[in-house]
Amino acid sequence: MATSVGSKFLDLDNGPDSTLLHRELNWLIQDSLGEGEPATLSCAASASSSGSTSSKKVVKLRTCLDDLYRLWKERIEDRRPFQYLVGCEHWRDLVLSVEEGVLIPRPETELIVDFVEDVLAENYGDGLKEGLWADLGTGSGALAIAIGRILGCNGRVIATDLSPVAVAVTEYNVKRYCLQDKVKVKQGSWFEPLEESEVELGGIVSNPPYIPSDNIAGLQAEVSKHEPILALDGGANGMKDLLHLCNGAASMLRPGGFFAFETNGEQQSQFLAGYMESELGGRLVDIKIESDLAGIPRFVKGFKAR
């Protein structure tokens, strides 16, 4: 089934090709192996290649083969994302639970945590490590959890999301990493759930919806048919929420506080950086555009003026 796809999806909407699907199939089988089964590559590899006789070992599966087949059919025929099939996404050193209604965290977004790590290493004296951070529009809680794990013992993170499903999934993920004392999850739009005592933020990170409304229909089927539009659609030019976050950062960050936002690419990054420099009265400084590993200028980061 995976082989028959060839490069059809790739040509159609930049979707997965056979090689990628084969690897996903290996992972699907790895993930369905029962407790105590060695999840070694060779084992999964030989199990997945139909007709292979190299491994005749009997393995215990947590799901019956019919269910696996049904799931895989959904992957190919409905283009249901692999991460929803197995219910998780491997992101940085985390394994995060995901389900329909929550955006699957992207590899690009991992870099935001690197930026935060760098800032914490350099600005230790500023106490950012022990400060209050916000991950706005947290989705599965990826950024909030990763940052929660690198803050000092007094550091805290508030994760907000408008979607009740996202809030529930984030709460579950936070519990899995035993960070209930460190990461607080609140339902609401962007800064709204923050209380008055929480307006002096040491840092703000966000991967808000940034895709222009017109582009939504043409997205890869995995995204457009299955992922929540709430987490993708950024209005006419895709900048509606990003601008709101910029203005919020200018007033909510404490002096010296750090921010990093993900954007749609070069155009948005440049516009945003220009806006911060010219429209916010110098309240945000040290503004830099950073590229993702594919070379696309993806992030805007900087500090609140002291």
């Binding site: 930049n14 895709i211 997205l219 954007t263």
Partner: protein, 427 residues
């Protein structure tokens, strides 16, 4: 390093499998038949005389030349140590002088203590000898003194041996973890299948040794063999034990892919690299280019992909490392960085090594990966290591990671002898 007794016994056992029982004294010559590879072994043999077996314990006698050399080194260390003590005890020594002397003393402490013990033992021996000379008439006394003298002399030998080991050059990398890289060479699918078996041999050997074996990346061939595979092995003394595995491993057998039953010879190359971190290799972020090599597209929220492959290019050397087996980009990146550091570290080591080896003859463990080091002959059920000339007739145990110690121990012993010979020739 394994204790010498068990090490030798194991080697002897393996030799006994293939040769008419040699006497123990013959052992050294049998381990390196000159037919296979003539080596300048004679210089070592005359220095490191012979091995003798006392009950189950093995002891050795050092040649007078080696003893003389060691004695010179020991007095030099004693003088240095006295000199440093003087500095430390001088009230007028500057703080820099003081701390430098102190630091050097700390480094010399272990060996200085051994020398003190040795001197005490040697004095005891002299005293006992004069007791024996003085009481020729008192038979009981003489007997008692001779008994003590024997013990003291045995102890002296032990201390001398420990000191010798201290004086021999050590490879600082021996205690490090390592990266194992296995590549199928000539022989197509058959080579890939054998690469997989070799890879798994090290996996099993690592488990047996209580080490942690983590697969880094595997590139499979059509028949599910390994075109290339790498792993990170960590534990106590990993590199020191595995370093001699680097080189070409040759296999002779009728491949499963061969219908006519013809014997094939294929080759697999193995590299063992000591692990290093970014500090060891002075890696600077600006020297690195890290990218995904995915085909275009807008990325970010536009794309849902499970492809998180990462490629790291070290700009000054042009080395690239690509890792795609992990499910997150972050993990692929850190694995790629680990492999890159190990490769850079190895490059620096072999550069230093080639400078050094201009001054002395080629030794084992040169890390020359084009050297054919071992042959696995399936029809005859044997594995031969060409460097020490040892053959094991249990090829199945070998691939199960069981008999590998036969070779490793012999190679370690060889290394020690080479070290002794260069210790002598460097004088």
């Amino acid at each position: 390093m394994a204790d010498r007794g068990s090490l030798l016994r194991r080697i002897l056992r393996s030799i006994n499998q293939q040769l008419p029982r040699p006497t123990v004294a013959e052992f050294r010559w049998r381990t390196r038949p000159s037919v296979i590879r003539p080596r300048p072994a004679s210089c070592i043999s005359s220095l490191f005389l012979h091995w003798r077996q006392y009950s189950t314990e093995l002891q050795h006698h050092m040649s007078p030349e080696l003893m003389k050399l060691m004695e010179q080194r020991l007095s030099a260390i004693e003088n240095r140590s006295d000199h440093l003590h003087q500095i430390v005890n001088q009230p007028e020594a500057s703080p820099e002088e003081y701390s430098r002397a102190n630091k050097e003393l700390r480094k010399l402490r272990d060996v200085a203590e051994l020398i003190t013990d040795l001197r005490a033992k040697q004095k005891e021996i002299n005293d006992l000898k004069s007791v024996i000379a003085d009481c020729q008439d008192d038979k009981d006394m003489k007997e008692m003194a001779s008994e003590e003298l024997d013990q003291a002399m045995a102890e002296e030998k032990r201390l001398q041996y420990l000191l010798l080991k201290h004086l021999l050059p050590k490879d600082d990398a021996d205690e490090r973890d390592c990266i194992l890289e296995v590549r199928a060479g000539t022989g197509g699918e058959e080579a890939s299948l054998f690469a997989m078996e070799i890879f798994k041999m090290y996996e099993k050997y690592s488990q047996r040794s209580g080490w942690k074996f983590e697969v880094i990346d595997v590139a499979q061939s059509d028949l599910k063999g390994y075109k290339e595979a790498s792993a990170s092995i960590s534990g106590v003394g990993v590199y020191g034990k595995l370093k001699f595995e680097s080189g070409i491993h040759r296999v002779q057998r009728v491949p499963v892919t061969e219908k006519s039953g013809r014997l094939h010879t294929s080759a697999v190359s193995v590299a063992i690299l000591p692990q290093a971190d970014q500090v060891d290799v002075q890696l600077r972020n600006e020297d690195l280019k890290i990218d995904t090599y995915r085909s275009g597209g807008s990325g970010g929220q536009h794309a849902n992909t499970t492809d998180s492959a990462v490629r790291i290019t070290h700009i000054p050397t042009g080395i690239t490392v690509t890792i795609q087996d992990e499910r997150s980009q972050h993990k692929n990146k850190s694995k790629a960085l680990k492999v890159l550091c190990a490769r850079l570290y190895e490059m620096e080591r072999s550069r230093l090594h080639s400078i050094r080896s201009q001054f002395r003859s080629e030794q084992i463990g040169s890390g020359d990966r084009s050297e054919r080091i071992r042959t696995y002959n399936f029809p005859q059920g044997r594995v031969t290591d060409h460097r020490v000339g040892i053959t094991s007739h249990s090829i199945d145990d070998m691939l199960e990671g069981e008999s590998l110690d036969t070779f490793i121990d012999a190679l370690l012993l060889q290394q020690e002898m080479d070290a002794i010979s260069s210790f002598v020739s460097s004088e």
